[in-house]
Subunit: 381 residues, 2 copies
């Protein structure tokens, strides 16, 4: 299989991730717990170490709480529902948001009658910062959700500028780093960001089953998910504690061991350089096929690792099927769980896009095979 | 390490579980998805197969939806918050409930002013069915949460009788099978149960990261957690579908592969026989130490795999620490995330109990070492 679906989940992972998981499975997969017994304490230590690696990676203060959970989706549900937004609050979302944000905010708005506004986009598919400023003046932002990198087009959003502007209104800024953490440097110390949600299994090269959020500013969050915490068990309230309070259920120490190994192995600069190079190569190759239409931001410096495209005369799904059946090339087709952006891409005739997701293990050869396959489908070989 | 904390998580797992996870990690850990490409379809097939194994295990109809998620805790949050209970609804919980139920119901009651009632207990620590019937007449049950096996004492609750009685009032019955599924036969076809929540990593011998619930009666649940489902992406509502609607975020196919292997390996009768035999042996041995007080149901047939105890003159935690430090024996001490039962156990002087959790890989020799250690601590060796 030529795997070009790294935006869904990176595959493969570095070998050390598999080794760490298998070792933990066989030797230490007990229930992490404070002071219970050696193996449980070892598990707790590994969790703390992994949190520190994440803090370091994003330049967060040692005091920033890192909340572990099973996925970035659960993290977003905890954040959206935990922010204690007032009725009729003005909530901005970027047009590139994933359904982990879009549907969750939409669901909450049924109860709180939120005013949900999309940050405006220019016709070149980049955020319109000037228009955004104007919108903020009209409807002052109270909470803002912004993905760092679009999972559909690979566009890198100008989060620094967006967050700085919204913060002028005291807005709570939430970054979805599912497609960026580990690939693009995140400077929590320089960004006006309150919360950063992350996925372990994408650009961080960890496994499924571990995600969470970093509370950069120490903003208070109401409890959304309840359960056992292994502490203060007689108390029906979730216990105090910036992390414990939001970390219910048994810690997935096997997944955390995988993430730990991934973080130790991670070379962010090298990954970015590799993906940039391959992305350039992919685009150049695809530009030679006149039937291919790519959905790219104007400025290539604002782009990384993901290319969405369509092939004239075919639906996205059909191309995906042929790539799979005849060429054993794995891509994702459709709307990619991003509900807002497609009205700007105007891809409804193709029922979405064909998405190429590159990763640190992608090769030029993979791209050559993809380009060959598309040409072949078009009868050009 | 002599591992006697199987009630927290079973350890080790059968070797086939580790092998299946490592193989899936290395060969197929992509994002499951309908029709995208072969590996994604293979992942989807494995998910379906695993759901069928679970249906078969609990004698559920093929039409019963099996919802996968990261943990039984998340499942309980989805159930409690999804049931659409009315304000002031009467909700019964057994006194043996875990905080995954207790705290979640408590949190919801802040919004809905629920009337939360404990099912009555007799002085022998068994459910008082007669008194329960009387309570039901006074305050008619609308929803009832009952664990199958107490994670503190190993008591097997009379779920058949409880659910039959509450169902006379049209009550919604929810079973927490975290400590029983895979160990004690569950007859979904014979029980008056609506929903069964399960944990992959306990008596099922699967890994962390997979749990969920079986909707036996097809009761409708509101959405509690939102996010991407890989389907109907432009729709801001969670899509219809008895399973998809509640299964957001990327499927943890590695954990599911582990659970799949565990289910194929599982010999429920053999596990039960082994644990019963060892439990008997453990109790007999501990009865020879007069300073040991065990918290047991009167009737040993209503008991399996878990023994809670205290040692006269010591706090539970102190015994746990010495067992760990001097004998490398891993037990759990304290309140075990079960907030209600301790008032009946009257264990506050010891700050909870010492819990011995047996598993299919526990040996008589482990028990001998534990008994030796306790005697040694008491100066009896």
């Amino acid at each position: 299989m030529i795997y070009l679906d790294n935006a869904a989940t990176t595959f493969p992972k570095p070998d050390c991730v598999y080794e760490a998981m298998d070792k933990m499975n066989r030797e230490g997969a007990v229930n992490a717990g404070r002071g219970s017994y050696k193996a449980a304490r070892e598990a707790s230590k590994l969790i703390e170490e992994t949190k520190n690696l994440l803090r370091k990676l994003v330049h967060a203060d040692i005091s920033a709480s890192v909340v572990f959970g099973p996925s970035v989706t659960i993290a977003m549900n905890q954040i959206v529902n935990g922010l204690n937004l007032r009725n009729n609050a003005v909530v901005y979302v970027s047009p590139y948001e994933h359904n982990a944000v879009a549907r969750t905010v939409h669901e909450l708005s049924k109860k709180k009658n939120l005013i949900i506004k999309e940050i405006p986009l220019k016709s070149n598919l980049e955020i319109d910062l000037e228009k955004m400023k104007y919108e903020f003046i009209k409807d002052k932002p109270e909470a803002l959700f912004c993905t760092h990198v679009s999972n559909v087009t690979g566009y890198i959003l100008p989060i620094k500028e967006i967050f700085e502007e919204s913060k002028k209104y005291g807005c709570i800024n939430v970054l979805d780093s599912a497609q960026s953490m580990g690939l693009i440097e995140i400077r929590a110390d320089l960004l006006k960001v309150d919360l950063i949600a992350f996925a372990g299994h994408k650009t961080l090269y960890g496994p499924f089953g571990i995600g969470g959020f970093i509370n950069v500013s120490g903003i208070s969050l109401e409890v959304f998910i309840c359960g056992g915490t292994g502490s203060d068990s007689l108390n029906l309230e979730m216990p105090d504690g910036n992390e414990t309070r939001y970390e219910t259920a048994s810690s997935n120490i096997v997944a955390i061991a995988g993430l730990n190994a991934a973080l130790k192995d991670l070379d962010q600069k090298k990954c970015l350089k590799h993906e940039n190079k391959l992305t350039d190569y992919l685009i150049k190759q695809l530009l030679t096929i006149k039937e291919v239409h790519m959905y790219l931001p104007e400025n290539m410096e604002k782009h990384v690792g993901i290319v969405s495209l369509n092939v004239k005369g075919f639906s996205a799904e059909d191309i995906g099927l042929i790539l799979d059946e005849d060429f054993d090339i794995a891509v994702r087709t459709g709307y990619h769980c991003a509900p807002f952006i497609h009205k700007f891409l105007k891809d409804s005739d193709s029922l979405g896009t064909i998405r190429i997701g590159l990763g640190q293990f992608s090769l030029e050869q993979d791209i050559n095979e993809l380009v060959y396959a598309i040409k072949d489908i078009l009868g050009g070989n």
